[in-house]
C-alpha cells in the first residue's frame, strides 16, 4: 500500500523571488532629510525627488522618499529613506 502522496510527482510550491529588492545603503543626510553622501561619496546633484506612499491599508505599509542623485564621481544612484523603518536603501527605480 502506498502512502498518501508518495506516488504524486509533486513539487512543493517554490517561492518566487523579487526582482530589484532594495539594498541597505550608507547615506548621510541633513536635518531636512536631504541626502549629502551616499556610500561615503558626496552628492553633486539631486536630479529628482519623489514620494511613494502605498499599501497604507495593509499591515506592511510603504512610505518612502526617493532621491535620484549624481555622485561626485559621476555615478548615478537612486536612494530612498524608508519612513516606516527609518533606514536608507538603494534601488534601481
Amino acid at each position: 500500500m502506498t502512502s498518501e502522496t508518495t506516488n504524486r510527482s509533486t513539487r512543493a510550491a517554490r517561492p518566487a523571488g523579487r526582482v530589484n529588492e532594495p539594498r541597505p545603503a550608507l547615506v548621510e543626510s541633513r536635518f531636512s532629510g536631504d541626502p549629502t553622501h551616499v556610500n561615503r561619496q558626496a552628492i553633486a546633484l539631486v536630479r529628482e525627488e519623489w514620494r511613494v506612499v502605498d499599501r497604507w491599508w495593509t499591515e506592511e505599509p510603504v512610505s518612502r522618499r526617493y532621491f535620484d542623485v549624481v555622485l561626485e564621481s559621476g555615478e548615478n544612484a537612486v536612494v530612498f529613506h524608508d519612513d516606516e523603518h527609518g533606514r536608507w536603501f538603494t534601488q534601481k527605480a
Binding site: 504524486r8 510550491a13 517554490r14 511613494v52 502605498d54 534601481k92
Partner: protein, 394 residues
C-alpha cells in the same frame, strides 16, 4: 455484479478533516460565492435540527441558529478522494469514480481473489477506512447498486440479486433518481412518491410529460442499464506550484504566473514527450480556502499558446486573492514518437544552443539557479513589486 461504495456528504467530510470537532456539531457546507445561496452537505447534528442539504442559507440559519458554515475546500476534497481511490486500486479494485464520494467497480474479477463477494466488499470497505462512514451496495445493475449503498448503514454491505432488484427498488423514495427538484415536485404532486410508482407508469407518458430526463429517471426506477464499470486510468499528476510573496488578485498578474507555470510544467522530464489531455488549475486563497478547476482538452496538446488559451479564462472565476497558484497535468496521452522536421524552422538552432547552455549552468550550479523574470505588476509604484524571479529547472 456491480458494486458501489458511497460516502454521503464527502466534500463536507473532507472540509471537516482539519476541524474534526465540528463533525459533531450542526454544520453545513457554505454556498459557493457568486452562486445561488444554497447550503451543501450537512452533518448529522444539523440534519437532526431540521437542516437539509440544498436548503436556502437564510432558511437553514432560521431553522438552526447555531449552524456553523464550513467553507468549501475543493482542492482538499479532491486530494482526499484521490487517496481513497488509490487505496482501493492498491487493494486490486479497478474503480470507476462517479462524483466525489461515489465509486463503482466490477466484482467478478476480485471475488476469487478474496474468496467471495462479501469478503471482497469487506476488503473494499477496509481499504477506504472506517473514518469515512462508507457503505457498500452490490447488484447486477449500476443504479440498483447505488440505491443499495444509499440505504445501507455506515460499514454495512447490501447485496441485491437481479431477480429481487425491482422489488427492492419499489419502496425507495423518488429522491434517489437524478431529477431536478422541480420535476420531483411535479411527480409528487401527481401522487408519485416511490420508485415503484414511477416504474409502474407507461414510459411514453413519462417521456411526454417530463422529457428525456424523466424518461431516464423512469428507466433507472426499473433498474437502469447493465453497463459494466470501466477501471479508470490512474492520473499522471505532474504538479507545479508558485507561491506569491503577497496575495494577488489582478488577472494580468495571474495570467503571467500561469504562463510561467505552463512553461515549467511542460519542461518536466516525467512528461516524457506525452501530450496533455486534462489539466487542473488550483489556487490557495487568502484566508485559507482553496479553488480548483479542471480542463479537458478537445485535442491533446503541448502547445503553450493553446494551453494558455484554455486555462486563462478560468482565472476570471477565482473568488478571492491568491497566495499560491498551481497547475497539474492530470491526464496524458500515451507515448508517441516525434516526427522529425526536414527543414528546421528559423531560429531553432539558436534556441537549442541556448537551452544547452542553460542545462550546463544548471548542472554546474544546481536546481533553482536558472530563473525567468515574470513581469507581474509593471504599473506598480513600488519597484520591487513589478516583477518576480521564477525558478525554472528545465
Amino acid at each position: 455484479m456491480i458494486a458501489c461504495l458511497l460516502i454521503p456528504g464527502f466534500p463536507l467530510r473532507a472540509a471537516l478533516a482539519a476541524r474534526p470537532r465540528l463533525a459533531l456539531r450542526p454544520a453545513a457546507l457554505a454556498p459557493i460565492e457568486g452562486e445561488e445561496p444554497l447550503i451543501g452537505a450537512v452533518t448529522a447534528a444539523a440534519e437532526a435540527a431540521g437542516v437539509k442539504p440544498g436548503m436556502r442559507l437564510g432558511e437553514a440559519l432560521a431553522t438552526c441558529p447555531s449552524l456553523v458554515l464550513v467553507e468549501q475546500d475543493p482542492a482538499r476534497a479532491e486530494q482526499a478522494w484521490e487517496d481513497v481511490l488509490r487505496r482501493l486500486e492498491d487493494a486490486g479494485f479497478a474503480v470507476e469514480p462517479g462524483e466525489p464520494g461515489c465509486v463503482y467497480f466490477e466484482t467478478s474479477g476480485i471475488e476469487r481473489l478474496y474468496g467471495g463477494l462479501e469478503r471482497a466488499l469487506q476488503r473494499a470497505l477496509a481499504a477506504v477506512g472506517s473514518a469515512w462512514d462508507v457503505r457498500a451496495g452490490a447488484a447486477a445493475r449500476r443504479f440498483a447498486a447505488l440505491a443499495a449503498a444509499s440505504v445501507a448503514r455506515p460499514g454495512q454491505i447490501l447485496v441485491v440479486s437481479d431477480e429481487r432488484a425491482n422489488e427492492f427498488l419499489a419502496p425507495l423514495p423518488l429522491g434517489l433518481v437524478p431529477l431536478e427538484p422541480s420535476r420531483q415536485q411535479e411527480l409528487r404532486e401527481l401522487g408519485v412518491r416511490k420508485l415503484g410508482e414511477l416504474a409502474g407508469l407507461p414510459g411514453a407518458a413519462v417521456a411526454e410529460r417530463l422529457g428525456p430526463d424523466g424518461r431516464r429517471a423512469w428507466s433507472l426506477a426499473r433498474g437502469g442499464g447493465k453497463r459494466k464499470p470501466r477501471g479508470r486510468r490512474p492520473p499522471a499528476e505532474i504538479v507545479e506550484a508558485l507561491e506569491f510573496p503577497e496575495a494577488i488578485d489582478n488577472e494580468l498578474t495571474l495570467r503571467r504566473a500561469l504562463g510561467a507555470l505552463v512553461d515549467t510544467l511542460l519542461g518536466r522530464p516525467e512528461r516524457a514527450g506525452r501530450f496533455a489531455r486534462k489539466l487542473a488549475l488550483t489556487a490557495r486563497l487568502v484566508g485559507g480556502g482553496s479553488w480548483r478547476r479542471t480542463v479537458t482538452l478537445r485535442d491533446p496538446t503541448v502547445e503553450v499558446r493553446r494551453l494558455r488559451a484554455a486555462l486563462g479564462p478560468k482565472l476570471a472565476e477565482l473568488p478571492a486573492p491568491v497566495v499560491e497558484l498551481g497547475l497539474e497535468l492530470v491526464e496524458l496521452t500515451e507515448s508517441t514518437g516525434r516526427q522529425l522536421e526536414l527543414v528546421p524552422p528559423e531560429g531553432a538552432d539558436l534556441v537549442d544552443r541556448l537551452q544547452d547552455g542553460l542545462r550546463q549552468v544548471r548542472a554546474a550550479t544546481g536546481t533553482g539557479s536558472v530563473c525567468t523574470v515574470v513581469e507581474v505588476a509593471p504599473w506598480s509604484r513600488i519597484p520591487e513589486a513589478r516583477a518576480l524571479l521564477v525558478p525554472r529547472d528545465e
